[in-house]
């Protein structure tokens, strides 16, 4: 089974107190924030490794990003992925989700053979959840999003797809694309042997020239999304502290909520 995992390197925003936006440029201040693999993508890598260990085959991890995204790919190799490809070129700068999924699609076409393509359900920086489905559309293959369980039998992938209060079971023929949630597994820690081996492995770097891409569909030119402004929403209201005994506070709270038609 040939498995491809698309991952993204993102700033570690888990500690929200460290995330600051420059008020002049409205760009996130990156100093002091480390880069990590998008957490949902770690689940995708873990699932890919599990599927490979169960059904055999190979796990190829690809990432589009600046040269430092190599670190994310090395982490994936340390976890147990077999090969890593970095799609990196100045021509890709400014890509929105459409241009990104187009570029990834062309990279996947260059790889050629695949049975399953895994993604995290979304990236924690942009939170769009569009690239996985975008790639599936452009490749013309089936897609299942928000997956919390995968089984493969006789070329059929059966997935549990998480909905708000329930889940649905979906079956598709391979090849297909799947985006996964946190519930699907617990990503492993890299073994030291894995880490040391990953250090020595070659990461293939593909530029725009290496891919069969239409110049109008990549980078800023290929991105219909234009970011007009990024800003930190102002907190308009101060919080209110209700005084009194527990039952007095409860009464006050209920009347406040009723007043604002929230209860």
């Amino acid at each position: 089974m040939e498995i491809i995992v698309c991952i993204k390197q993102v700033p570690d925003t888990e500690d929200v107190s460290k995330v600051k936006i420059d008020p002049q440029t409205n760009i996130m201040i990156r100093e002091g924030i480390k880069n990590i693999i998008n957490p949902f993508d770690e689940n995708a890598i873990e699932e890919a490794i599990k599927l490979r260990d169960k059904y055999g085959g190979k796990v190829t991890v690809i990432s589009m990003g600046p040269s430092h995204a190599e670190a994310a790919l090395r982490s994936a190799l340390a976890m147990g992925a077999d090969e890593a490809i970095l799609i990196c070129d100045r021509a890709f700068i400014g890509s929105d989700t459409l241009a990104t999924s187009y570029t990834l699609t062309q990279a996947i076409n260059k790889i050629g053979k695949f049975d399953v393509i895994l993604f995290g359900k979304q990236a924690i920086d942009g939170d769009t959840a569009q690239v996985g489905p975008g790639v599936a559309e452009q490749l013309g293959i089936a897609q299942i999003t928000y997956v919390r369980k995968i089984e493969i039998k006789n070329n059929i992938l059966r997935a549990e797809r998480a909905l708000e209060n329930s889940f649905e079971v979906v079956e598709v023929k391979l090849p297909c694309a799947v985006t996964v949630t946190k519930e699907i597994n617990e990503p492993r820690y890299a073994s030291m042997k894995g880490l040391l081996m990953a250090r020595k492995k070659q990461i293939h770097v593909w530029s725009a020239e290496d891919l069969d891409v239409d110049k109008d569909k990549i980078g800023l030119d290929g991105s219909p999304t234009q970011v007009v402004k990024i800003f930190t929403p102002q907190t308009k209201h101060e919080g209110e502290i209700l005084d009194g005994t527990a039952s007095e506070v409860a009464d006050k709270l209920v009347s406040k909520l009723t007043e604002h038609k929230l209860f």
């Binding site: 340390a78 073994s191 030291m192 042997k193 880490l195």
Partner: protein, 379 residues
């Protein structure tokens, strides 16, 4: 002098810090409270290949040195003292096997220990503590087997370990010169686990009595030679002191970090207590002592890795680290005030744990004698 970490060490430590922060540290309180062996932690370490850190690659390990071991041990002990000590006690069996084991013994045991099995080293008996040569357990050669009889106490990792190194007298009544070292596997007929010791701290650290009642051990399980058991023990302890010192260092660092954080958050007289000079001086002393002891320990590990005499420094490091851990953890409780005495906060645990380090692997008094002995001989 180069104090920078290699790229390899940095990568490894990053992953180890992650697992310590995310998994091992959050369980530490529960581990102590329940007093149950932290199986999940050991499995994590095994899955990450860390149990075989210093075991040569040809026997399935990573073939790293003791300096790297020290960095790793420090992080683990900082996150969970119990897990750190289990990791450290393992070394007391791995190391003598590596150094004194025959090719057959190494091939047989090291790959298991590199994979996921735990190990223990047993010398201490009711009448053989600091007087380590006064071992009463006996081993008598009968045909192809040694018959071991006797009891070992305070055995760390005992009951959870698969492989033990046991010191017993092949020539009873001849003191240190009559002792020999044996490899004994769990489940060997005549070898059972006796009482479990109820400790002031480290409640989850396996520590038991080992009972040998006509325990039949194959002749080829003799380590090194007959009458060389005391040497095996002493050389094991020399290296083990680095490990024990590192364990104490981890506890001291955890106590200091807890005190620093609390001092910044705790408000009295309208200000965080960290703004008061009395508290600042405590924190400054803690950080300074920790830094100093770290340097001795790292130096001893570095010397060992570079095949230079390290024993004196290992002893100094163990002595100082355990006393620093005791001092820093006691002061950490003081910084926390009343809350520090309560079980909800970890500093009381650090204080209970720190005390052990002044006793095990040679008491502070024995360390001073060892160090003085080196000094007087001009070494």
């Amino acid at each position: 002098m180069d104090f920078s970490l290699t790229e390899e060490q940095q990568m490894m430590l990053e992953e180890i810090k992650k697992v310590c922060e995310e998994k091992i540290a959050p369980r530490a309180e529960e581990v102590d409270e329940k007093g149950e062996f932290p199986k999940e932690n050991i499995e994590l370490l095994a899955n990450m290949d860390l149990l075989g850190l210093v075991i040569p690659e040809e026997y399935g390990g990573l073939g790293m040195g003791f300096l790297t071991w020290s960095f790793v041990g420090e992080e683990i002990s900082k996150a969970c003292g119990t897990t750190g000590l289990i990791f450290g006690a393992n070394l007391l069996c791995i190391y003598p096997l590596m150094v004194f084991g025959t090719e057959e013994q190494k091939k047989k045991y090291l790959p298991r220990l590199a994979k996921n099995k735990l190990a223990a080293f047993a010398l201490t008996e009711p009448e053989a503590g600091s007087d380590a040569g006064n071992v009463k357990a006996t081993a008598k050669l009968e045909g192809d087997h040694y018959i071991i009889n006797g009891r070992k106490i305070f055995n760390t990792n005992g009951g959870e370990a698969s492989i033990y190194i046991i010191i017993a007298a092949t020539h009873p009544g001849q003191g240190p010169r009559g002792l020999s070292a044996f490899i004994v596997e769990e489940g060997t007929p005549g070898f059972t686990i006796g009482q479990k010791f109820n400790k002031m701290g480290f409640s989850a650290l396996p520590n038991v009595e080992l009972v040998f009642d006509n325990c039949k051990v194959p002749k080829e399980n003799l380590l090194l030679k007959e009458r060389r058991g005391f040497r095996v023990a002493m050389e094991t302890f020399d290296t083990g002191r680095i490990g024990v010192g590192i364990g104490a260092l981890g506890i001291a660092e955890a106590a200091y970090e807890a005190a620093l954080k609390y001092a910044k958050e705790r408000v009295q007289f309208g200000k965080p207590i960290a703004s008061f000079q009395a508290i600042q001086h405590i924190l400054a002393d803690m950080a300074t002592e920790i830094e100093a002891v770290k340097l001795i320990l790292y130096k001893s590990a570095w010397l060992k890795d570079n095949n230079q005499p390290f024993e004196k420094y290992a002893s100094m490091g163990k002595l100082k680290a355990s006393e620093v851990a005791m001092h820093v953890s006691t002061k950490a409780v003081q910084v926390f005030g009343g809350y520090g005495y309560m079980k909800e906060y970890p500093v009381q645990r650090y204080m209970r744990e720190a005390k052990l380090f002044e006793i095990i692997e040679g008491t502070s008094e024995i360390q001073r004698s060892v160090i003085a002995n080196f000094l007087l001989k001009g070494r």
